[in-house]
């Protein structure tokens, strides 16, 4: 395209999809500046992938939740962090990895404490090396309990992790390049790991490990004891389909659901660009994400072909909190967000959450509406100085520019504006219809509008 300057629409859509939504101030700040600078402001997370990170105020909340082994506190911590972080892309990619390597609290095996540790592992690696991420999660305490690695032994290997490692974490099934035999052999490679009762970390026990030589995906893997799983990660990531599959998942989560059903025969151009970045950088996630956000296929994706992003509940909750001045750590948001279909640390199964129109059902529509009502209720109950100031309802009569900016949009579509105008017109002047009530209604309608939910 060659248009190096970010339009207001560019800012709204990039921050809407990769940073939990834009504020009016951000729209003003970045409009007219180089698009690449805006991308770099997101991607340049200090010390990304190095293991050492800038401490943020929320870290204390995470530790409180972890030590308390408390799921709700953990959910409040993370939602709060998504809103307050200096590095929203770090949280946005961490949310993606939580979906990709979906692990759920199941009583105490795994416990909230272990999920919060896993969450930190994902955050540290969120823009680092996918190879390191795979290695660390394979022997992660929560993962070992979730997919039964902790009960898989040489004499009785359990296939659960091996199957999902191929199908969901590294290779996918478009096409499927592994066999049932590969799964059974891989299960033997992964044997030997338990969750240490004291540290709750993964620990290798040589007596539980299958010591024979395995052949997986055509590669012979000798007995390497506690290092053997790393060899299998390498074997999987060396498959040509691996980079394309992980790229496909990134595109699906950040840009649009690619129509491709076969990553080689029916390729998607954005997926291929991102996959090439993985290959060129030995699986550096930061490079892959930067490539994705800079790509014209991301920036100018074809909406008419359905290439838009249906934002997941966490994204609209956090964005809505920005527009109301509500703290996302507020506990009252968790229940309606759960009814939207997304509870943090509780994905529905190892396949993670839905995507695309899978988020859009009559059930979840009611729940999204509940989130909006909750946000206005919490806002209105707060000290007036904490509330984000809503634009006047009269702005809707004159085109809605102020409301669009307030919601982090570059403008309203004609149908959404017409719907809002009909609301304001029909409600204004009726008994009890105060200006505040009209403003609440405008917020709720915008929150549930196509313009906001789909970007």
């Amino acid at each position: 395209m060659g248009d190096t300057i970010a339009s207001r629409a560019d800012v709204a859509r990039l921050l809407g999809r990769a940073a939990f939504g834009a504020t009016a101030a951000q729209l003003d700040e970045w409009e007219g500046r180089p698009y690449a600078d805006l991308v770099e402001s997101l991607v340049a997370v200090p010390t990304a992938g190095s293991g050492a990170r800038v401490l943020q105020p929320d870290d204390a909340n995470r530790l409180v939740a972890e030590h308390g082994n408390n799921l709700q506190q953990g959910q409040q911590f993370w939602l709060g962090r998504m809103k307050t972080t200096l590095y929203p892309l770090e949280e946005r990619t961490t949310l993606f990895w939580h979906d990709h390597f979906a692990t759920a609290v199941a009583g105490q095996t795994p416990s909230p404490k272990l999920l919060l540790r896993q969450n930190e592992t994902m955050r540290v690696n969120s823009l680092g090396s996918f190879r390191t991420m795979c290695q660390q999660l394979t022997v992660d305490g929560a993962m070992l309990q979730w997919l039964d690695g902790n009960v898989s032994t040489a004499t009785k290997p359990n296939e659960n992790y091996a199957r999902e490692f191929f199908e969901l974490f590294t290779l996918g099934t478009m096409p499927q390049v592994y066999t049932e035999t590969d799964i059974r052999q891989a299960a033997r490679v992964f044997t030997g790991w338990i969750v240490d009762a004291n540290t709750l970390n993964g620990r290798y026990v040589t007596g539980r490990h299958a010591k024979d030589t395995k052949v997986v995906l055509g590669t012979t893997i000798p007995n390497l004891e506690g290092e053997e799983y790393k060899r299998l990660v390498d074997v999987a990531l060396a498959q040509p389909v691996a980079s394309k599959f992980v790229a496909y998942k990134l595109v699906q989560n950040f840009a649009y659901a690619p129509a491709t059903r076969h990553l080689f025969d029916d390729p998607d151009p954005l997926v291929d660009e991102v996959a090439a970045a993985f290959v060129a950088t030995d699986w550096n996630i930061q490079s892959a994400v930067r490539t994705m956000l800079l790509s014209d296929h991301f920036r100018h994706a074809d909406a008419a072909a359905g290439n838009q992003l249906v934002r997941q509940p966490a994204e609209i909750v956090v964005h809505g909190a920005k527009a109301t001045g509500v703290a996302t750590s507020n506990a009252s948001l968790l229940a309606p967000m759960g009814r939207c279909g997304q509870k943090l640390f509780q994905p529905p199964n190892v396949g993670g959450w839905p995507y695309g129109e899978g988020w859009l059902s009559t059930t979840t529509a009611l729940a999204r509406y509940s989130v909006a009502v909750t946000l206005t209720n919490v806002r209105n109950g707060q000290n007036v100085n904490l509330r984000m100031v809503f634009p006047p309802s009269s702005d809707i009569d004159s085109g809605g520019a102020a409301w669009a900016a307030h919601m982090g949009l570059d403008g309203l579509t004609p149908t959404t504006l017409a719907a809002l105008q009909s609301y304001v017109t029909s409600r204004r002047g009726k008994p009890g219809a105060t200006e505040a009530e009209l403003q609440n209604g405008i917020f709720i309608l915008l929150f549930t509008s196509p313009d906001w939910e789909v970007m």
């Binding site: 199941a106 095996t109 979730w146 997919l147 039964d148 898989s152 004499t155 009785k156 359990n158 296939e159 659960n160 199957r163 199908e167 969901l168 099934t173 659901a257 129509a259 059903r261 909406a303 008419a304 072909a305 359905g306 838009q308 009814r339 529905p348 199964n349 190892v350 396949g351 993670g352 839905p354 695309g356 129109e357 899978g358 059902s361 009559t362 059930t363 979840t364 529509a365 009611l366 509406y369 509940s370 009502v373 909750t374 579509t413 149908t415 719907a419 809002l420 009909s422 609301y423 029909s426 409600r427 009726k430 009890g432 219809a433 209604g441 709720i444 509008s449 196509p450 313009d451 789909v454």
Partner: protein, 436 residues
């Protein structure tokens, strides 16, 4: 532990919006509509046309069929009981614990139900239950997600893009004022997605917006309906708007429907929610509910007992009520039209793993439950899946029935679908209708 609690997010269906109109199943559009919806619109009420109902229960995670319909002795010239004993050292049930299936014709099969299925067993003995054995499909997938998609699409040979009941909706159409297909749960499952029509999902009853239905809320909800007018140039946004519009219609329609009783069993509650709608004459034809937890890789014995107890309770309470909970039986006129069918994405491995559980396997049984004296032909249908011999036990059970033949029978002979597409129906599952 990681079993699907419901269908995986739809992978495919976006294409529908690129090629066709995304018409939602038509939902009553004037408020309030209760009870005689059809009459309110001058349409023949659904009950009067003898519409049959189908209730599909998805057992998510892969139900262990080998411990659902259980061998009690070697029979039919096989060693299946001996193999069962051999491969299930800790998970097996001895013959004296199994609920023997001994209707006429069953005796020499030497098969029984899991001990937790007491009420289903009683229904079976009463002649209300058909059990289809060994159901599977060629090219079986051991993946939860592919398996779930294939069973819901009914098209295991292609990448699924619609559901077998969604395409039924496409073929039969949806009349004004009808609520023809409802999933109780969070999302709209693939099974109800057609190319032109689709069902709706509801979380439960009562169903209402968080700001109520007074003038304050009404003004907002009327605005939501206008989101459906969004330009087709952005098909995903248009769809979002259509869903908001449909949601408004749905809440208005269900405004005065009485909430069902709530029990301690989530599956029962979902079915009782559906029952309220079935009994309200919305024209409801197809219901889908799902339950997770069947992915018993570890500690299967207790987990599976609890799951099957829950299923047993839910189906029984749904159809026959529960006097101890003051829940009456289903309205007899509705019950006489209602067929309940279970499925799971796969069965499990015959051999135990090291965690007192089982890994992903193949063929499993389907339960089909109808009214006593109705058209369901009771008994065992199809052969028990092959187990091999004690010298060479099967690595995986060998399927005996293509599940699409069951779909064909249900579509053709129960839902009177004009042109279902699965070839020959499973013979003898339903008695033919008497000639007119």
């Amino acid at each position: 532990m990681s079993s699907p609690s419901g269908p995986h997010g739809p992978r495919i269906t976006r294409r529908r919006f690129l090629t066709g109109t995304a018409a939602l199943a038509a939902i009553p559009t004037l408020a309030p509509l209760t009870g005689r919806v059809g009459e309110a619109f001058g349409i023949t009420p659904a009950g009067a046309v003898g519409r049959n109902r189908l209730v599909v229960i998805f057992l998510g995670g892969g139900n262990d069929g080998f411990n659902t319909v259980i061998p009690m002795a070697d029979a039919d010239g096989t060693q299946r009981w001996s193999v069962y004993r051999q491969l299930r050292p800790t998970l097996r049930y001895e013959p004296d614990a199994v609920l023997a299936l001994d209707r006429p014709g069953d005796a020499d099969r030497a098969l029984g139900l899991h001990p937790s299925l007491t009420r289903l067993h009683a229904m079976y003995q009463d002649g209300r239950v058909a059990i289809v054995q060994g159901a599977d499909y060629p090219g079986h997938s051991f993946s939860h997600f592919d398996g779930t998609d294939f069973w819901q699409s009914g098209q295991p040979e292609i990448t699924p893009d619609s559901g077998w009941l969604g395409r039924h909706l496409d073929r039969v159409g949806v009349g004004v004022g009808e609520l023809r297909a409802v999933a109780v749960g969070n999302d709209l499952p693939l099974i109800f997605r057609g190319h032109d029509k689709q069902g709706v999902s509801i979380p439960g009853i009562p169903l209402q917006f968080a700001d109520g239905t007074a003038a304050l809320g009404d003004a907002r909800h009327e605005a939501l309906e206008r989101f459906a007018l969004h330009s087709p140039d952005e098909p995903l946004r248009q769809f979002e708007g259509q869903v908001m519009d449909a949601t408004v219609d749905l809440t208005r329609s269900l405004e005065l429907v009485t909430a069902p009783p709530v029990t301690s069993n989530a599956l029962t509650n979902a079915l009782l929610t559906a029952r309220v709608l079935l009994e309200s004459e919305f024209g409801l034809e197809c219901v889908f509910v799902s339950v997770g937890g069947y992915d018993t890789h570890v500690g299967q014995r207790v987990l599976h007992q609890n799951l099957l107890t829950s299923l047993d309770t839910a189906v029984s309470t749904f159809l026959d009520g529960d006097a101890s909970l003051n829940i009456p039986p289903m309205d007899p006129s509705v019950a006489s039209e209602t067929l309940v069918m279970t499925f799971s994405e796969f069965g499990r491995r015959p051999g135990e793993n090291g965690g007192a559980g089982t890994d992903h396997g193949t063929a499993g049984p389907l339960f089909i439950v109808g009214p006593a004296g109705g058209r369901v032909v009771p008994g065992l249908h199809g052969e028990h899946p092959g187990t091999g011999t004690t010298l060479a036990p099967a690595d995986n059970l060998v399927p005996t029935t293509d599940f699409r033949a069951v779909y064909q029978a249900v579509l053709q002979e129960w839902l009177f679908d004009p042109e279902p597409t699965y070839g020959d129906p499973l013979p003898g599952l339903l008695t033919p209708l008497p000639a007119p």
